[in-house]
């Protein structure tokens, strides 16, 4: 196996002596698309924030491209890992183009004007996410679905090999959910790299990721292909909830009913 893009080894993280993540270990290789699921408070968002060093500290190892993240300057890390937070409900009225353009920050020197390659990266990200027509609108005039697409565009414009997304489909209706995840899958196929996305929707994880990592109380409770997650009682144990599981009427794949 080639060098993993992301590696966690025995990583634990606590806030005020409350353990949020316990002894988490996994590797993500190039071209993988991984969904992170788990009940509320399982540590999914904390996991992403630790990888991009929004949260610092913790015990154990997190390495990106084989190098521990503490050794990177923040901008250096940002050229390798892009993070797409949940779209803010109270956005600053930057235009979409300005907002997406900010993702080029780690590629630019201080005061350096943006270069043609930066313009290209922004244009491509807008194109890929279908937000080019919104480019001159301001963020506060967009709908929730449009705004989430712009956040995805910003993540793509950063041109990092590893893309982390925190609940990219939260608060979206089914059509917009499908659109965002379809876009993500298509773009990932075209651009390569690795994608790690947090979701509350188990079916989304099963349908859109090749691999699912389930967290329970900060520890990895399951790591493997989605089919094995639904095959036995693992999923019920993770959520401590008696799901009904049955075949999808159209595709025949396992679907989880809340």
């Amino acid at each position: 196996m080639s060098e993993p893009l992301l590696e966690l080894a025995g990583f634990s993280f606590s806030i005020e002596s409350r353990a949020i993540l316990r002894d988490v270990s996994f590797r993500v290789a190039d071209l993988e698309r991984v969904a992170v699921i788990g009940p509320n408070g399982a540590g999914k968002t904390t996991l992403l924030k630790c990888v991009v060093r929004i949260l610092r500290g913790g015990r154990g190892r997190i390495a990106v491209d084989g190098r521990p993240i503490e050794e990177y300057a923040q901008a250096e890390l940002a050229r390798r890992v892009a993070y797409v937070p949940q779209a803010d409900a109270r956005p600053v009225p930057f235009t979409v183009r300005e907002f997406v353009g900010m993702a080029r920050y780690p590629h630019l020197g201080p005061l350096a004007p943006s270069r043609p390659e930066d313009e290209r990266a922004v244009a491509r990200a807008l194109e890929d996410t279908g937000t080019a027509t919104l480019a001159d609108r301001t963020m506060d005039t967009l709908s929730g679905g449009e705004r989430q697409k712009c956040f995805l565009a910003a993540g793509l414009a950063q041109e990092a090999r590893l893309l982390l997304l925190d609940e990219p489909t939260a608060f979206l209706d089914p059509a917009h959910k499908a659109e965002i995840l379809g876009t993500l899958a298509r773009v990932h196929g075209e651009r390569g790299g690795a994608v790690l996305f947090v979701t509350h929707d188990v079916n989304e994880a099963l349908a859109r990721a090749g691999r699912v990592i389930a967290l329970r109380e900060g520890a990895v409770a399951f790591d493997g292909p989605g089919e094995s997650l639904t095959a036995d009682g693992t999923l019920r144990a993770v959520y401590a909830h008696d799901f009904a599981i049955g075949p999808h009427p159209r595709t025949g794949r396992a679907v989880v009913f809340p």
């Binding site: 940002a78 993070y83 937070p85 009225p93 300005e98 900010m102």
Partner: protein, 324 residues
Amino acid sequence: MTRRGWVVAGIAAAAVAGAAAAPFLGILPLSDPLSGPVLRQLRVPRAALAFLAGTGLALAGMTFQAMFRNALATPFTLGVASGAAFGATLSIRLGWTFSLLGVSAVSLSAFLGALGSLLLVYGIASARRTFSTAVLLLSGVAVSFFFSSLILFVQYLSDFTGSFRILRWLMGGLDAVGYAAVLDVLPFVLSGSAVILFFGRELNLLAVGEDFAVSRGVDLSRVRVVLFGASTLMVGGIVALCGPIGFVGMMAPHICRLLVGPEHRWLGPATALFGGLFLLACDSLARLLIAPAEIPVGVVTALLGGPFFVWLLLRRPAGAGLLA
């Protein structure tokens, strides 16, 4: 040129015109032999001082607003202005007149007061192990009240003349004789403004959110120290000379944000120019309204700022405190 470019150019033109015209307002007829000296020794330095102070306070306000993601944040929010005011009040009360490396005792103690209040806020936030906006704002308000009470206390201990001098200084004033005051404040404003304008990209990212900025590669702790340091230095230097002139730091950046939008590489220069022009206009009003007597300029900015503050509160939807 883009619309935004034209607006910034317009503000620049207005600033130049205003700065050129202001010294001539309300002056004796040019034929009067006294008009020349009055112009050179009183009016021009006063206009320069007003412009520099306005620029510095407005840029500091813009910086705090972006870093707190809150349009109501001002140089007063962190208690910085109150700390500076306390330092200056104390040195006025004690009658210190020495100067160190050309910096007067009042400037020095104002800067130390500003620094002290910033460190206090920083300390409280560190003890809470968070630099969340709520903690910083609340500790800023607490520190501000603390220093305001100390100022009242010092004033209470002073005799009638001293008390009046302190009160007059607290109202803010830009009356300068000669160029000493201008040269005193110039290095503070130039260096502080340069730093803030240099960090336009970082301010954009911070205005969206701290997590967001970090994930885009901003070295948060370094940028925070540099930007707070530069703003504090500038506010300290200005408050020492001109008193705690309120509301410029809140109004100027906000009006500019309505004119050119939130992108700091445009907003910065616009705010610097508009802030200078704004305080210059307020000072001219202060000078002319009841001429030959003068109103303290802090009273004029507060009279304009109070209603503006209320308007700002009323026009935003409940719960939205952001830069919208």
